[in-house]
Symmetry: C2
Subunit: 246 residues, 2 copies
Amino acid sequence: MSTIRGARERARTEVTAAIKDEARRQLAADGAAKLSLRAVARELGMVSSALYRYFPSRDDLLTALIVDAYGAVGETAEAARATPGGSTGPHTARWTTVACAVREWALAHPHEYALIYGSPVPGYTAPQDTIGPASRVGLVLIGLVRDAFLSDGLAVPPLAGELRPEAERMAADLAPDLPPGVVAALVPAWAQLFGLISFEVFGQFNRVVEARDLLFRRGAHDLARSVGLLDGPATTTTDRAGSARR
Amino acid sequence: MSTIRGARERARTEVTAAIKDEARRQLAADGAAKLSLRAVARELGMVSSALYRYFPSRDDLLTALIVDAYGAVGETAEAARATPGGSTGPHTARWTTVACAVREWALAHPHEYALIYGSPVPGYTAPQDTIGPASRVGLVLIGLVRDAFLSDGLAVPPLAGELRPEAERMAADLAPDLPPGVVAALVPAWAQLFGLISFEVFGQFNRVVEARDLLFRRGAHDLARSVGLLDGPATTTTDRAGSARR
DNA sequence: TGTACATCAGTGAACGCGCGTTCACTGATGTAC
DNA sequence: TGTACATCAGTGAACGCGCGTTCACTGATGTAC
């Protein structure tokens, strides 16, 4: 019976996927604001009301695309992390590998990127379903830092006194096993990393930056340093520890 | 005759301003995608076709709003720069003063901020008119750094060899009087600064960061350091120069 | 294995909406002599 | 100063469009006995 019911369910899964694929295609072509159920249905050779068997409203389709986009960029980051460049060698280089992968995904999927890291879609409020997938890239960055911390490849950044309570709160939430100073440096670095990507994807670098790869690598590397990751093998930890440890 | 013709022109100026004000109001309420000529006209008690005496199309109205938004944030930055906090004291503190002013403008005008630093509006391509106003905040940052450089308050960041040609090109374009190493550090810092602001304005810090003021100040300060600005009075330049000068 | 019934994907027509833009017009404001 | 004319802001009706969503329906697929 599971195989027979499976037939109907498999069809359902396939059509759902086809709808999302076509929606993603239109998103890539025209942006989220122009995404229309009718156009998607038209392109699939269905009548527009048929889509309501799959998504109760346009907003639910949008939500699915948002979740998928977070999933795609999260998976990209995780895959890069599993690569030799993301899991061996100097910790700053691992960070940069992951950062570059995220950047390349963003450049390859600018509208999906805009959907999740650009201006919120007007009138649309992200439901609970998105908050899990939204954190995957952040978790990868935390993982990188944790690895460095455990293998003595991290110089814990100093933590100003006034920031301590917030740092401890964030650390308790995000990474209880890491020193608060690291978390307080990591969160801004995370935002700044996406600042570099957004400026490039959204065109702010037009007529300003040409060698964007190089400049991004430099920016990403500096961010890695700012969270305390070390360039060399673990044994050279003392190089920077003097000035960076509290 | 200039006073008589002036009457008609003054009326024109006033109505144009009223249209932009109302459009800005609707932008703030619903976002750029929902901005509609008809709604603006309705709210002003005009018929929608009357707006075509003032703006040849909806896109032209949008462009005017974009130019105004760049103008507003640029003016905010320039005003902060002219403040005691922006023009005296340690150079890192001046930078932070300007950065905080920009952030506050963004938080007070999230939709206008999204219009210029968020996802590009679909189907809309920014015309030439926007590129001048778009650079005002950047020019303020360059001015801050130039001041520090001239008063010996700047430790020129090291410049990796592969980045040199691009750094020199950017320096020639943006600030021929500054060392390329500074410009190569300033451009990413500029992007990263807006990364911090965007993550806050666009809601990425929801459920993650609470003490956003503090974290922003810390991030902005670190960025100031990353472009070479010094914390102390000019005489302590040697503190950091050893590790930071090429 | 065969039949009666339930489920559910997809249809087609319709509702009501708001939009950007055009166009011929009216009437007030300004200009030239 | 007065008059004939030009300019131009604003009107009102209309065009054509695409949208999200609802609803009663058909017919194929699956289920229970």
